[in-house]
């Protein structure tokens, strides 16, 4: 197990290293400079030099560093936890990420929890009552859920609950934009503002989790040891929830492990629709502004998260299933 862990961590670091080199080079060879001279034709050359130097692109005299040298500088800073400075905000990328990360974790974390809390029981419920009306209904609804992109759903939720209902004589519905003043100070108000974005993100995940849970549960339920357990006279509940569930939940662990790093990534479109100040919105604005250090920062964070949580998922397997040995 220890050797396995060391090997996995080493591979993970190598992967991150390769990804950073790839993304770094891509952002550097894209045409367009971080400082657009057209914005202020009078800007003094020494100021441009100073700015480019601060961004790690040139030496003090304004001579461009070659890309490999820029990468070495970037990597050196990265090892010290420094993701560089934003071209646009003139602030450390780590500072910007730390400002936005809690908001994304709150939004996507809540959506994931809601999806798990509803999706898993729904899947189990459908599997244990295969071909019942409820199973068919759940399946149909999940198909629809999987098919609708969350941004389309977001716009419809916004239209129905944020516009039509609120502008109707009912005057009832939910706010159109994200966190309100004092959101953090007023949890009830915050929850009220979270309803629509969380719903639009969770519906898709509920559909996925329930589909997977159902399929996985059905596979296990048809195995011999389940029949044996039933033949021994164990109750249906005990067989389903003790013997079957523990095995059936394994694939879900991978799904959740893949979903968690996405929390860091934020939900680019959904955060845009609901004006939620998370990392997704930050990444989107960075793409529009060609703010490469910020894009690179978000990409590296998601990459690191994916590597880490996949590792955690593998370790969790061993805990959930004692037969798995590394």
């Amino acid at each position: 197990m220890t050797f396995y862990l060391i090997r996995r961590v080493a591979i993970g670091i190598l992967l991150l290293f390769l990804m950073s080199a790839m993304f770094f080079t891509l952002t550097r060879v894209t045409p367009g400079r971080p400082i657009s001279v057209g914005e202020n034709p009078k800007i003094h050359q020494s100021v441009i030099n100073l700015r480019l130097h601060r961004l790690g692109l040139t030496d003090e005299q304004g001579n461009s560093y070659p890309i490999p040298q820029q990468y070495v500088l970037y990597l050196g800073a990265l090892l010290h936890g420094d993701l560089g400075d934003s071209y646009v905000n003139h602030e450390k990328v780590t500072t910007l990420l730390l400002q936005r990360l809690p908001n994304s974790i709150l939004l996507l974390g809540a959506a994931l929890l809601v999806a798990l809390a509803i999706g898993i029981p729904l899947g189990i419920f459908a599997a244990t009552r295969q071909y019942s009306k409820l199973d068919i209904t759940t399946s149909l609804v999940s198909y629809v859920g999987v098919s609708i992109p969350s941004f389309v759903l977001g716009i419809y939720l916004l239209l129905i609950f944020g516009v039509i209902l609120r502008q109707s004589p009912l005057h009832w519905g939910f706010p159109l934009f994200g966190m309100h003043t004092g959101g953090v100070d007023d949890p009830i108000d915050l929850l009220y503002h979270m309803v629509l974005p969380v719903t639009s993100l969770a519906i898709l995940q509920i559909a996925i989790f329930s589909r997977f849970m159902r399929a996985s549960m059905l596979e296990v339920l048809h195995q011999d040891y389940i029949r044996t357990a039933r033949a021994k006279g164990l109750s249906l509940e005990k067989v389903n929830y003790k013997h079957a569930l523990r095995n059936a939940i394994l694939p879900i662990i991978t799904l959740v492990a893949i979903a968690i790093p996405q929390i860091v990534n934020g939900a680019i479109i959904t955060e845009g629709i609901f004006s939620w100040p998370g990392t997704g919105q930050l990444a989107f604005q960075a793409v529009v502004d060609r703010d490469y250090p910020v894009i690179l920062g978000v990409v590296m964070l998601v990459a690191a998260g994916t590597v880490l949580f996949n590792l955690i998922a593998d370790v969790t397997y061993a805990v959930a299933d004692p037969r798995i040995r590394y």
């Binding site: 516009v163 159109l176 003043t181 100040p277």
Partner: protein, 553 residues
Amino acid sequence: MVAATIAILVAACGNTAPSSETPKNGGTLIWALDSDATTLNPFVASTLPEFRVISFLFPNLYAGDKNLNVVPDLADGMPSVSSDGLVWTVKLKKNAKWSDGTPITADDVLATQKIQGDPKLDTDYSYDWSKLKTIEKVDANTVKYTLTQPFAPFLASNLVGYVAPAEVYGKLDPAKIRDDPVSKAPTVFGGAYKLDKWIPGQEFDLSVNPNYYNGRPHYDKVIGKVITDATAAANALINGDVAWHPSLGESGAGGISKAKKSSNVQVHTYQDLGYIDFRMNTRKGHIFDNVLTRQALASVLDKPSIVQAATQGAGAPLWGDIVPASWAYDANSVVKYPLDVNKAKSLMQQAGWTIGSDGVATRPNPTGSGTQKFVGKIRVRAGKPDRLKAAEIISDQVKQIGMQLTPEPTDFKVFYPPIQKGQFDVFIAGFSLTLEPDDYSTAHSSQLQPEHHEGQNWTGYSNPQLDSLIDQERSTVKATDAETKAARKAIFNQIEKIISGDVQTYMLWADVSSMGWTTNVGDVVAGSGDNTIYYDSNNNPASRAQWYSKSGK
């Protein structure tokens, strides 16, 4: 100082009468911002959302009134100008104070100018103090500007704008001013409000500045909410979640008409200070180097239908480079080219072009041997559907006279560098205008780029007669602002005749904008042409202090 424009709108309609109620204090004004700011340092700010927030926080020396005439704000009266037009003396309101209780004095005005005029100031905003010879403090409340030559745009371009506290910004190195913590968290304010909190990506929380020199503004608090989605922002106004939406026009024709139908909303729609044009490279050897060719282009295009199709009504066809919102605009001074395909064909012939069997015009190569085909590209910014649509229609209509022009959508970051090097055929671009109508930087031959180091006359157009008129217009300074404008307007009329007659650039449309308020906001007053431009950005922040909440909330 930040330039702002003075203008009189053409149509005098849609004035909103001030409310008969007595304004009361209290309540919170929540307004919509379409994107976050990156700085709250007035010297560094360069985007509209940044100026919108900053305008609540810093005093303005002069401002534009509802009809966009320059009026005093922090200044006590209009500047007195010497008879030779060289010395401008400005008095400040006595007893004006910063939020920390210290007086706002001539020292602050001097320090602000010093930073703006520093060639090493790290900003993307362009400040031009080249006509200033000296600036002196006469006494604590009086500043004397001496210019190198009489310069009429000085009032609207240099004196309309913010003043920052010397005590805070005067100590900073202009080359490093961007990175100082005060850029993110200003500490001393002189505008109607103070900044309490900036939550990145979310909002700006402001509260009333008790020391404001124009007296207490009515709203207790002002909250700028970042709402990135234009449709959501328009609906937020209709729902009453925000009370003011300065960029309502961004939500498109559908959003505006929905807001207009709502009984909870008051909307003002007006021609703004910005235009879109089709800018040709007129340098020798380029396809548009002959004035007759450019006139042929103007005669073959059906401008009203192009503008209507491209903007869906959000643009007003334009013939000269002075927009209707400006006081210098005169509809009769411009040369208009009505649609006339036969005339266009004959002009092409006179210019030496003959249409070949493939439908493309050719002429003997003016810079070498062989022939030159009329083939070129229309550079247009990607992500601007109205401009792209216009490029497509133009490309189609000019085929009739053998012009083969292909639209080439290009990302903004790489849009300008080839243009600044003179390597282009045509580009469609948007120009945001200041309140000063002077067209020196885009039309004067000293502003040719890349021939000279600065300027925005990328077309290569050079005309000594036009240069002389522009120089004359800029140096006409009379005893009063009204007299100066009247004298300059007569010269502007001659300038516009040349620019439109020679098709120095083919103008497309002037932007039409909309602003919306909920009906709970009292004392919103529109100027002529239903314009509310003066409420926006730092045109006239003091005017917003008159608004009040009818419900008190």
